[in-house]
């Protein structure tokens, strides 16, 4: 889609080195508006590093990054820790963007947490926090939405709902979406392109094409098969370690 328009963002041959360790080796990534791209890969594959480079939070050791001029990015960080000493309601947290009350209410409604508007941020559950963070990212009316593990700490029913919500937002606002995910199962249904990362891009493309790719199977084969069983009884972050230990055998 939007093949005629220039991409929102194009990263070419991005490498990041920390000390002696190469975190990323020549990764490429292109994002078009209206497209959902999901980065998957095991722990330490450099997913978050690539996202940070794309966001401009980190300098790449080498490679090129082209971003559309004045690109508005809505960012949902992986973790949010708010000091207990800071009294901060959801409403005040969202007003830090400088947006008006009506917009705040509208976006909280969109992410389904309007009733939490006056709750203290520190009292939110994991899933509620994710939805508030998503509302904050949307408040900037972004052309590009960057979501670092958006379903972290969300139960299985909530995960599916959140992915559906993200697809719906893309359909309504025609923004580009870059997601990071450990999920192999749920995310497949709601993404246009999957980029499988393990320091470098192993394979990328349509989810169906990628799941048949030998590089993908080598990296995720066992974990992908195990994922359904893992999901039925996980409640928290345990799926991370469960998947990862599976991958190490792969």
């Amino acid at each position: 889609m939007n093949k005629h328009k220039p991409p929102l963002l194009k990263a070419s041959r991005i490498s990041v080195t920390r000390g002696d360790r190469e975190i990323l080796k020549g990764a490429d990534l292109t994002l078009n508006s209206g497209e959902i791209v999901t980065l998957i890969g095991p722990n330490g594959a450099g997913k978050t590093t690539l996202v940070r480079v794309v966001l401009g939070l980190m300098e790449a050791s080498s490679g090129e990054l082209e971003r559309q001029a004045n690109l508005r990015i809505g960012y949902m960080p992986q973790k949010l820790h708010i000091e207990p000493s800071l009294p901060l309601s959801v409403d005040r947290f969202l007003s830090l963007t400088g947006c008006k009350t009506e917009e705040i209410i509208a976006n909280l409604g969109l992410t389904g947490v309007e009733h939490l508007r006056f709750s203290p941020m520190q009292a939110l559950s994991g899933g509620e926090t994710q939805r508030v963070l998503l509302a904050r990212a949307l408040l900037r009316d972004p052309q590009l939405l960057v979501l670092d593990e958006p379903v972290q700490g969300v139960d299985i029913a909530g995960q599916a709902a959140l992915y559906q919500l993200i697809s719906r937002i893309r359909d309504e606002r025609h923004c580009g979406v870059l997601m990071v995910s450990h999920d192999l199962h749920l995310v497949m249904a709601s993404t246009d392109t999957v980029v499988c990362l393990n320091q470098h891009v192993c394979c990328h493309g349509h989810p169906e094409k990628v799941t048949a790719d030998p590089a993908y199977l080598e990296l995720f084969g066992q974990a992908a098969n195990a994922s359904v069983a893992v999901y039925t009884h996980h409640h928290d972050h345990s799926h991370d370690s469960a998947c990862e230990s599976g991958e190490q055998h792969a």
Binding site: Y75, S85, P87
Partner: protein, 261 residues
């Protein structure tokens, strides 16, 4: 009321009012140790002032501001862990200040006044200096309130949203250095951090928004100044430590109330 008491109260209020919001940031951003380091370096400023025969206030401000900038640079380069760095600088500057003051200062230098404050000796010039600096810092805080809060909540989120994080953070540190320089007169270099942290911590339990917490911290700070002055007047206790103790008493009182989330 004798003039020296009026001047002492005014000086105390001037510092307490600005210490409210600034101390709140110190609490939210866990900058207590940073404040201590700057405060200790203030004594070095006194030593330089005596050595070079320049205005002591100016010397203190210059040393505090320079140290704040040095800390910003060192923190960014991550040479060593921040608390180790602060621990080294904090006590080295205090020790160097003590050595310098005793070597270069003459008999007229009252070391105790610098260490623990000399509120009752506040002059009109002191009060004017305090109010000018305090008003300036409050104005900058007001202007930068939203970006300051945003970087306190989540620095990277703020950066992606277009806030110049480094500039805002550096400004906060410089403001802290300014306030420490004026607060030295009130409670002395060893107790300045208490005046920043304690009223803010007490205010936390009674408020639900960052703005209320900052404002109430100012009010509690002023009450502590009054309490400290009363104690000093009736029981002849040293004024600076008495102010800090009344702030601590207020904090203890707020413990009776359950902490809201």
């Amino acid at each position: 009321m004798p003039e020296f008491i009026v001047l002492a109260l005014l000086a105390g209020f001037g510092v307490a009012i600005v210490a409210g919001p600034l101390g709140s940031f110190a609490v939210w951003r866990r900058m207590a140790y940073f404040g201590d380091t700057l405060a200790h370096s203030a004594l070095l400023g006194v030593a330089f002032g005596l050595l070079l025969s320049i205005n002591l206030n100016l010397a203190v401000v210059l040393v505090c501001l320079s140290l704040a900038l040095i800390l910003v640079v060192l923190q960014q380069n991550r040479v060593i862990a921040t608390d180790t760095l602060l621990g080294i600088l904090s006590h080295s500057t205090l020790a160097l200040g003590l050595v310098c003051v005793s070597v270069f200062g003459d008999q007229r230098v009252d070391l105790m006044a610098y260490l623990f404050g000399d509120l009752l000796a506040a002059t009109r010039a002191d009060v004017i200096t305090i109010f000018v600096v305090s008003a300036f810092v409050l104005l900058v805080l007001l202007k930068l309130w939203r970006p300051l809060l945003a970087i306190t909540v989540h620095e990277e989120l703020a950066r992606v949203e277009g806030i110049p994080v480094t500039a805002v953070r550096t400004t906060l540190m410089l403001l802290m250095a300014l306030v420490i320089a004026i607060a030295m007169k009130v409670v002395g270099v060893l107790l300045i951090t208490a005046l920043l942290i304690v009223p803010a911590a007490a205010s936390r339990r009674l408020t639900h928004t960052p703005e209320h917490m900052a404002m109430l911290a100012s009010v509690l700070g002023c009450l502590s100044v009054i309490g400290g002055m009363l104690a000093s007047f009736y029981w002849d206790t040293p004024a600076g430590p008495s102010v800090v103790l009344s702030a601590s008493s207020l904090f203890l009182l707020t413990l009776l109330r359950k902490q809201p989330i």
